[in-house]
Symmetry: C2
Amino acid sequence: MRYKAIVSYDGTAYQGWQKQPDKNSVQAKIETALSRLCRQSVKITGAGRTDKGVHAFGQVFHFDTDKEFKDITKSINSQLPEDIRIVSCKPVSDEFHSRYDAKWKHYSYIINTGKFNPIQRNYAYQLGIDLDEEKMQEAAKALVGTHDFSSFNATRKDEIEDQVRTIYKIEVKRRGSLVTVDYYGDGFLRYMIRMMTGALIEAGKGKITAEDIQNIMGKMDKTACNYNVPACGLYLIEISYTNF
Amino acid sequence: MRYKAIVSYDGTAYQGWQKQPDKNSVQAKIETALSRLCRQSVKITGAGRTDKGVHAFGQVFHFDTDKEFKDITKSINSQLPEDIRIVSCKPVSDEFHSRYDAKWKHYSYIINTGKFNPIQRNYAYQLGIDLDEEKMQEAAKALVGTHDFSSFNATRKDEIEDQVRTIYKIEVKRRGSLVTVDYYGDGFLRYMIRMMTGALIEAGKGKITAEDIQNIMGKMDKTACNYNVPACGLYLIEISYTNF
């Protein structure tokens, strides 16, 4: 039986989603929990990776097992630490693939423009500088659409062939001192959201405009964008399997 | 020179505000930082204690030092861990006393009525049960005013003589799945807010009413209230030195 699971996690204590030898990863924690529960080695396939310190409310993975459960969500959670929680876990068709079937992803990036907040230190970028969210929204227009995002990518060019991605929507919102940037797209390259957010922050300071971002993008060169922001402000919110 | 400082902290890693032998406390961290900075032993006096795991945005303390600083807030913060941040630090009259001069205090208690959220696990009570915030607000009427709060106190009766306190206002608000209870009063006994919040949650479930809370209060007995909630949802928001 194949299962599709949605998982939320606090990425603070982890080296990222992806299992790596001798490193603390979310994937390894879940595989250990599932293997213990199923009394056999269970491998899971995530819809995508999240980097060290990045959080998730809606990461998706799939796995196969023949074991039967009364309440599988509760069973897995009982084997997991409190910073990883299965939100739902349901049987799906054997053809379902968490990564290949994903249609679009929603990420949020949270910036605190106010004073350093110790409560949020691992959960929002503590920028401490006020931003003009309208200028950010305006500059974001340069990013929306289908583009070659090589300039907003930390992966070496030869590692990934196709660096063309489509961003459907970017929304910049303010709530008090918090500015949140929501990204909806068919996929994102490594560090892409953090580099784009870095550029939008410069726009919010009034230092660059949509045109400058367009120029950076036109270079299709991973050294073109010098902006980046910390992982702690980034959240994987949702992975959708229906068209945007 | 006497200084009044406002400090915010994430209480997760600490045994509470109060310095205790061999225990990790916020007070000890700040005294160590100040003593290092002033090159002499500096003691601080807090406006009140917060228990293990309780957070603060506006704890106040005072201390004396003859050392001169260019930017004292920045200097102290440079010696503190990131989970403790001085918000402001200003010279005051030598007569100022953080505890005795305080007129009222504002605390917030945050409850997540939705699914367990790993990001909030140390920052909001993960109740996971929906609450009727209007019933809570109604029940809170029994707590507002001047009362003997012995029934909402974890301290032994003989430890504190006067258990009469005045609550000026209680506000119950909802934002999505979060229900927040704000308390404004001239002072609070040990566990008082957590016990009152526990009672208000029962009211929000429809299990008790303002009348039941009045009955509990009338008993003036610390075994009368069996309700309590975890420390992680509690925040010391502000200590005010002017009348309410």
